[in-house]
Amino acid sequence: MSDMTNQDGRVRPGQGPLGHAEIDESITSRTETSGWQAIVRTQPFWVLMAILVIGLVMTFVSDVFLTERNLFNTTRNFAFFGIMALGMSAVICTAGIDLSVGSLMGLAGVVTGLVMQAGYGIVPGFLACMGVCVLVGLINGVLIAYLRMAPFVVTLGMLAMARSVSMVISNNKMIYDFGPDTELYLWLGGESVLGIPNPVWVLIILTAVFGWVWRYSTWGRWVIAIGGNAKAARLAGIPVERILVSVYVLSAVTAGLAAFLLVGWFGSVTNALGTGYELNVIAATVIGGANLMGGVVYALGAPIGAALMELIRNSLLLAGIDALWQQFFVGLFLIIAVLLEQIRNRGKSD
């Protein structure tokens, strides 16, 4: 990319003074940037810088911060949000929103628990968890894409309904017996491989997969195109409705995956699992650089946004500040992230 940076905007030898149109064009086209400059311009980069700064400060404030135990816990805690934020990024990229992910976690967790409690083993438990999520995602997606309902309303309704169903089928009881595969399940959610917690592995792998998908897959390209200009995408022959449905299914599936791992870590599940998580996931996604107007997505933004939020929580805790302040800072960072985005956009359009 960098080899083209300076070609324009320079008077070429042998040509007289530039005409107005040429000057005009040289100004508008002198925007190509090198790979490094492109990275520096992205929001995930700046959030990552913020993480490093906070981390640096915390090493001085607290002796505990850099301990293996603390880093292990911190990374595992944000893995669940990071996984869901990957799915939410896709939804937000289409200028949609999915408020149902928190409730869906409850439903998916309870379904997993019930199936495994009945002695079916971990594979049927996982498939049931995924099945329920695909179904909920399909309902959300079809209502939004084909019936043209507002994503906010549809998923808000689903938020209430999914939570209610999880209360009904769990009979409001806690499930802590996961049948014959209990041990394997608890290992999956709570233990680690090569010193890295299993949910973090899942997050790492999924982030890599999404990084590839956003850059190299047709599906990813189409999702970004729909977020940029849905009408143009439709005229170009992209099956906009089907892609929208797939995006909501994806978001639901990542919520199910997070729920599955989270229950394995907790070793128990109640129908309150994931209450309020939708806000944290949306905040992580937006802090990670997603634009609520659509058309912008970064695979790395999801884990980075989730990491910043968990880091704030952890830092407050270690700094001895009341944990009740946590949501205040999450909200504050959310607002700052959106504000920064707006300031940058204003700079672009001027």
Binding site: M4, T28, E32, W222, A233, G237
Partner: protein
Amino acid sequence: MSLLELDDITKSFGAIHALQGVSLSIRPGEALGLMGDNGAGKSTLMRIIAGNFRPTSGAIRIEGREVHFHKPIDARNSGIEIVYQDLGLCDNLSAAANVFLGRELKKSFGPIRYLDYKTMYQRSGEIFAELKSETRPRDLVRQMSGGQRQAVAIARTRLSDPKLVLMDEPTAAISVRQVAEVLTLIRRLKDTGHAVILVSHRMPDVFDVCDRVAVLRRGTKVADKRISETTPEEVTGLITGAIGAA
């Protein structure tokens, strides 16, 4: 034989008759200027040709065969490409990504298929060079001038080598020099045997590149003349209604 033939096309929206018995034909290598005041039915006719609307009655024939367009993709598959006035571009994607939108080139690695950036950049670069446009394949459309955007939209139509290119006000929002570029492109399309329908308000453009001009007024065709047999004054009269029909 006519490339495209519209036969007695009528389109009603409830009680509103947007088009009443419009017939039109165009041959390969011919450029037809489609003119008319706002609300004369130009855009309705355009949307019927593009496959956005289905006519209430009447037939559309391409190379003598009757066709029925249910979706824009049907029209495209029949060899009709449209350059929309708002250009239908995704601002957040690169020029090359827009050119290939919906028909991305892919490479295979075993069972995995992935976007072939290199070929798409190269191919769209060639098209821009052909159009004598300074548009660069990697630039984001968001950062482009009106003329560059136009080049991207026109480059899109070149991919499929269509029989007919329908352009909706292509010169409405660009600089004088870029207008000349677009008109040159239209001539080049004609030279290569493409038919062009130019929907335009700009009299000089139509008289510059078109072979024929058709005028719509209140949903009916009031004139269909060779450019050499008419004058801008007559066409203006036909559009406004000062001249009844010709």
